[in-house]
């Protein structure tokens, strides 16, 4: 274990922990923009700088390993000045159109501008123009709002293993793009969208929908497969408008393209809302209650079993059910109905 002092408080952390992790353990708030504990440290935004005894210059706490006896200051006047300059520089190259930006209320840059009280900007100057429209079905990319935190590039590489985006150009003109600046053509898992701290990346489906005001958040489970990723629905009225996932869920906030972007069906008028029973051959489907439906199914299964034996029946279950549901389903077939004719579309 390693013992260090941060802002006059003692803390013990495990070998390999960073100074930032140690500070968070003490509930000390250090601003970060390019950091995500789920990804490798990067050290680009320079906001998490701290002063460490014996080191000539401020260092980034997100990349610096804690060592025994270290004495760390996280909130000096000097650090405040440096952080403020950094935020001001970022804003000097930012469209500042929070009024109409999809990210509003959910944007780290906006929070930082607020925290440092930046309205006038000492560094007004040229702005990048990277607003090439990316034609793809799921993701809106507004690169003029990109702060080059690299989170999207890293998540795509480190978590998704796809590497669909990277950096191009140098200096002020540096930017994040798919190869050769073509349109994005990838898995569209939207992991990148989920980590983007600004409005640079957003879901096409969200466009024009409410941002924060009047939005209800509901934690639930994704129904697409047996993994059961935790998701959070954003809704207004009876409309689901966006799906997120929290980093502290068992799926660590990561989703697939279906879980993240495949939610329009929820509000579809074609959706069935009650069971339907076709009572006569050639007849119409008629609305029924669940009790009616269960009774009907049980009755027909029993009739077939009585007449033709249990092996005349077979059950196919779905990967969209949970393990527990699949277990119960095979139990019903094997133990209650008495046949081994039971299978499942994914068999995992």
């Amino acid at each position: 274990m390693i013992n260090l002092t941060i802002d006059d408080k003692q803390i013990e952390v495990a070998e390999g922990a960073t100074v930032l992790e140690a500070a968070r353990k003490l509930n000390i708030d250090i601003p970060t923009l390019c950091h995500d504990p789920r990804l490798k440290p990067y050290g680009a935004c320079r906001l998490c700088i701290v002063e460490i005894g014996g080191m000539a210059k401020p260092v980034t706490s997100c990349t610096t390993p804690a060592t025994n006896g270290m004495v760390v200051k996280t909130n000096t006047a000097k650090l405040y000045r440096l952080r403020k300059t950094t935020v001001e520089l970022l804003l000097s190259d930012h469209p500042n159109d929070c009024m109409t930006c999809i990210g509003t209320g959910d944007c780290k840059l906006q929070e930082l501008a607020y925290a440092y009280g930046i309205r006038e900007n000492r560094f007004q100057g040229a702005m990048r123009d990277h607003n090439r429209v990316d034609v793809n079905p799921f993701i809106t990319r507004e690169q003029n709002k990109c702060v080059m935190c690299g989170l999207c590039v890293r998540v795509c590489e480190e978590v998704q293993g796809v590497g669909a985006i990277g950096y191009a150009e140098r200096g002020f003109e540096a930017k994040v793009i798919p190869p050769f600046g073509h349109d994005l053509k990838c898995e569209f898992c939207g992991q990148c969208v989920s980590v983007c701290p600004t409005g640079a990346l957003s879901g096409r489906l969200w466009s024009g929908k409410p941002r924060m005001a009047g939005v209800k958040f509901t934690d639930t489970t994704c129904t697409y497969c047996g993994c059961g990723c935790n998701i959070t629905l954003r809704s207004t009225g009876d409309q689901v408008i966006r799906i997120d996932s929290k980093p502290d869920s068992h799926n660590r906030g990561w989703l697939c393209v279906k879980g993240r972007f495949g939610f329009e069906f929820i509000n579809s008028a074609d959706r069935l809302t009650t069971p339907l029973i076709r009572r006569q051959k050639g007849g119409e489907f008629e609305q029924a209650t669940w009790d009616e439906a269960y009774d009907y199914v049980a009755k027909r299964l029993s009739e077939i079993k009585d007449k033709h034996g249990a092996d005349a029946l077979g059950g196919l279950c779905s990967a969209r059910c949970t393990n527990e549901e699949n277990y119960l389903f095979q139990k019903m077939f094997r133990a209650r109905i008495g046949t081994n004719n039971v299978d499942h579309c994914a068999r995992y």
Partner: protein, 593 residues
């Protein structure tokens, strides 16, 4: 050397650019016509290509040695070769009017050549010639008689510090690397040399590649690396060719490969070409580049000595650092430390450029006073102008003003006045240089070479440049100097890598020493050195103007009028101060003020 005749032709990049190749061909032709046998073979008469001796401004340089008597010729062109062969080689009579003058000797005599000692003497494409100057003796001695710890101790004792910029003690760095438990270690030679105007490392690789390879072998043995890389920029084609040839020759002789010098130690050295990004000279970006990633630095710690290439302990040293190693092992730490200053030992190779008489590549003992470099080796300021300042350490160094002319040039000395050694660039400035413009110039370079990873460097250098640009264009505002100072300090203190940390140096140092020039630009809208066109008024002196009309033709806004053969006039309300007329006039009749 042995009796007989030796003709050395400078075939460094500078020599070749000046026509060295053609001069060489001409010598071969003349030798053949004159019936001199075996012109290129070591016999009675040897024709010989050599590396750069540092005085490229005088190329093509040719030495003709007859019975031990060396005569050096400058500015030799192919058509002059016939006379040289007839009169000097065959007739033993030097052609005095083509010989170099005293300044050539002053330039060389005030230097102390160690790393450059064999440049201009041996053929860099011949391993025999390197062996002829005790080449690979140091490697053999080290590998066969010394333990790795002993090697590191010698390098520590010598006081050698990294020549790539940081000046970190080389032996100490090696010991950090060796202390790691690891199944694999790497050694890398940094030959990326991206500073504009710097050509120290290129000249060493072109002129004596085996010395660098031998230094790497010794370093690899000391730290226990079995694989090495030379990361060299692709824009150095001659250096790359000679390096590859030298590696091949060294492998053929068994100096590289398996079981070197009969020991169990093996080393393979690979060449990796850089694509010309300045930031790839930064060690962590360089490692990323070798790994096939975009050349972007990462935060340290961990340092490469602990976690470098492919996550393994790695030593990166500069070309010049490695080139010093064989001599240290041959002659000992005490010999090496016998020259230099208290904390900076040995010599430093410097690229001396700017408003100075003798521009070129020089090697001086550490601690030599600035004034000796400029006025002795450099021969003083060109055109009898006044010395104003010197920029050391490349684009991210600082400007040192005239008042520090006695400053010893070593790591501490330069740092004490807000500059740095860097890789050894030195640009001399005179009274006609505008310091605001100079700092803008350097910032343009660093700004466009920033990798764009971190905020202070990516956006901060851009904003610094914008403020400087507006000052030089007469748009400077009250408070701009303070804003520049604050931003420069913040960029310096919060950037990720050395590029961003040092990019503001020219701004900080010029404001410190030449604040009055900034004030003149901002408050009085004047450029005291008459460089910033936008702050100048252009006019034509009637008594000098011959009425040729060149100025009027050059003016893109038709602000100049006048009859043919009559004095012309500039309408200053139309003039956009582009300076085209000033450049166009052959009679110096256009003035600016």
């Amino acid at each position: 050397m042995n009796d007989g005749i030796v003709v050395n032709v400078c075939m460094g990049t500078g020599g070749i650019a000046a026509g060295g190749d053609m001069v060489m061909q001409e010598f071969i032709k003349e030798f053949e016509t004159a019936g001199v046998k075996n012109a290129t073979v070591k016999e009675k008469c040897r024709l010989h290509k050599v590396g750069c001796r540092g005085f490229c401004a005088r190329d093509v340089l040719v030495d003709i040695t007859v019975d031990g008597q060396v005569s050096t010729y400058q500015y030799i062109q192919p058509e002059m070769v016939k006379r040289l062969v007839q009169e000097h080689v065959l007739g033993a009579k030097p052609i005095t009017e083509w010989l170099v003058g005293d300044d050539y000797h002053v330039f060389h005599d005030n230097q102390t050549k160690r790393v450059l000692a064999d440049l201009g003497k041996i053929d860099p494409e011949s391993i025999e010639e390197y062996l002829g100057v005790d080449g690979y003796k140091a490697a053999e001695k080290t590998l066969t008689t010394m333990k790795p710890e002993e090697v590191i101790q010698v390098v520590k004792d010598s006081g050698l510090r990294g020549r790539g910029g940081g000046g970190f003690p080389t032996g100490v760095k090696w010991s950090f690397c060796a202390a790691n438990k690891a199944d694999q270690r790497y050694i890398i030679c940094n030959a990326d040399e991206g500073d504009p105007g710097a050509f120290m490392d290129r000249s060493v690789v072109e002129g004596n590649p085996h010395a660098v390879i031998e230094g790497m072998i010794i370093g690899a043995y000391a730290i226990g690396a079995s694989v090495g890389y030379v990361y060299i920029r692709a824009e150095y084609p001659l250096a790359v060719d000679r390096l590859r040839l030298a590696l091949k020759h060294a492998e053929e002789r068994g100096f590289l490969g398996k079981k070197l010098f009969g020991t169990d130690f093996s080393l393979k050295i690979k060449v990796k070409l850089g694509a010309g990004a300045f930031v790839c000279g930064e060690e962590t970006a360089l490692i990323a580049s070798i790994e096939g990633e975009r050349g972007m630095p990462r935060a340290k710690p961990p340092f490469p000595a602990n976690k470098g290439l492919w996550g393994k302990p790695t030593i990166i040293n500069n070309v010049e650092t490695f080139a010093n190693i064989p001599q240290i092992m041959n002659k000992g730490a005490a010999w090496y430390a016998s020259i230099g200053s208290e904390k900076s030992k040995g010599t430093k190779v410097i690229a001396l450029t700017g408003k100075i008489k003798n521009t070129g590549l020089i090697e001086i003992p550490m601690g030599m006073p600035l004034k000796d470099i400029i006025f002795k080796v450099g021969g003083g300021i060109e055109g009898n102008k006044l010395f104003k300042a010197v920029q050391t350490g490349g684009p991210s160094g600082g400007c040192i003003p005239q008042q520090f002319i006695d400053l010893p040039v070593d790591y501490e000395g330069l740092a004490s006045v807000g500059s740095m050694m860097g890789s050894g660039g030195m640009v001399v400035l005179d009274e006609t240089d505008c310091m605001v413009n100079i700092s803008k110039f350097f910032l343009q370079f660093t700004q466009s070479e920033s990798c764009g990873k971190c905020v202070p460097c990516r956006i901060g250098t851009k904003r610094l440049l914008e403020i400087l640009t507006r000052i030089t264009e007469g748009e400077g505002k009250e408070g701009d100097i303070e804003l520049l100072q604050q931003l420069a300090e913040d960029v310096r203190d919060s950037s990720l890598c050395g590029l961003g940390m040092s990019a503001p140096n020219p701004v900080i140092s010029t404001i410190k020493y030449f604040r009055h020039e900034y004030e003149a630009h901002i408050k009085h809208k004047k450029c005291p050195a008459k460089v910033c066109n936008k702050l100048l008024t252009f006019f034509i002196r009637e008594d000098m103007c011959v009425g040729c009309g060149m100025c009027a033709k050059a003016c893109s806004v038709n602000a100049i009028s006048g009859e043919k053969k009559q004095p012309h006039k500039i309408n200053n309300s139309m003039c956009i101060q582009c300076g085209s007329c000033f450049d166009a006039c052959k009679f110096s009749a256009v003035l600016k003020e």
